[in-house]
């Protein structure tokens, strides 16, 4: 059972445009939602994360929007640059007492065209 569903699988955006990636989860015990960026041949790098007590978090050109009632969260990449071309994974984990195990979405391959 896939507990975190991510869409789209791939995305092409022009330089300067906005990339939007969506994730939906089922497990109401999840309370930590990170996004990772992975370049080919590299390990995933933590990009930004959010807890369910806030609806939005912004770090530079990256923004997470969180909708607790809908059990959905999304990543917006503003002013997308060719260097943002990578695979992005959303993830979710329950609180520490449950072991902090991350469940990953399927990934979105983003290509930013110059």
């Amino acid at each position: 059972q896939q507990q975190v569903k991510q869409s789209p699988q791939s995305l092409i955006v022009q330089k300067g445009g906005i990339s939007i990636i969506n994730c939906a989860y089922e497990n109401t015990a999840f309370d930590y939602f990170p996004w990772y960026q992975q370049f080919p041949g590299k390990g995933p790098a933590l990009l930004i994360a959010i807890r369910p007590d806030v609806s939005e978090k912004k770090e530079g050109r990256f923004t997470i929007s969180f909708n607790k009632s809908a059990k959905q969260f999304s990543l917006h990449i503003m002013d997308s640059q060719p260097g943002d071309s990578a695979t992005y994974f959303c993830a979710a984990s329950p609180h520490k007492a449950a072991g902090n195990k991350l469940t990953f979405g399927g990934g979105t391959r983003v290509l930013v065209k110059p």
Binding site: Y32, K42, G43, L46, N100, L102, F104, G106
Partner: protein
């Protein structure tokens, strides 16, 4: 964040043999995790390795196939035993610094089994 190294970075192995992957972190961490990422796919948790206790394996992964050691707070190993071509994947370790929610990933070990 934490600086994580993995050895080897890649290897080509014959079926039936075993490979031990090392994960070293530059600071003491309580929780370490091992993931598998099959080509073009998302990350799947293999096991959680906490120092001083037996590793906890996820459904579908067993100790006889993926024995894990965690001798101290900065080091862990994952062995892929009796390998078959289906074990060809990227194996990643991650760490969670004490008192934090974030997980940081190593660069991965790309394993090809022929």
């Amino acid at each position: 964040s934490a600086v994580i190294s993995q050895k080897p970075s890649r290897d080509i192995c014959q079926r039936g043999t075993s490979l031990t992957i090392q994960c070293q972190v530059d600071s003491q961490v309580t929780m370490m995790f091992w993931y598998r990422q099959q080509p073009g796919q998302s990350l799947t948790l293999i096991a959680t390795a906490n120092q001083g206790s037996e590793a906890t394996y996820e459904s579908g992964f067993v100790i006889d196939k993926f024995p894990i050691s965690r001798p101290n707070l900065t080091f862990s190993t994952l062995t892929v035993s009796n390998m078959s071509p289906e074990d060809s994947s990227i194996y990643l370790c991650s760490v969670m610094p004490s008192g934090r929610n974030e997980q940081y990933f190593g660069p991965g070990t790309r394993l090809t089994v022929t």
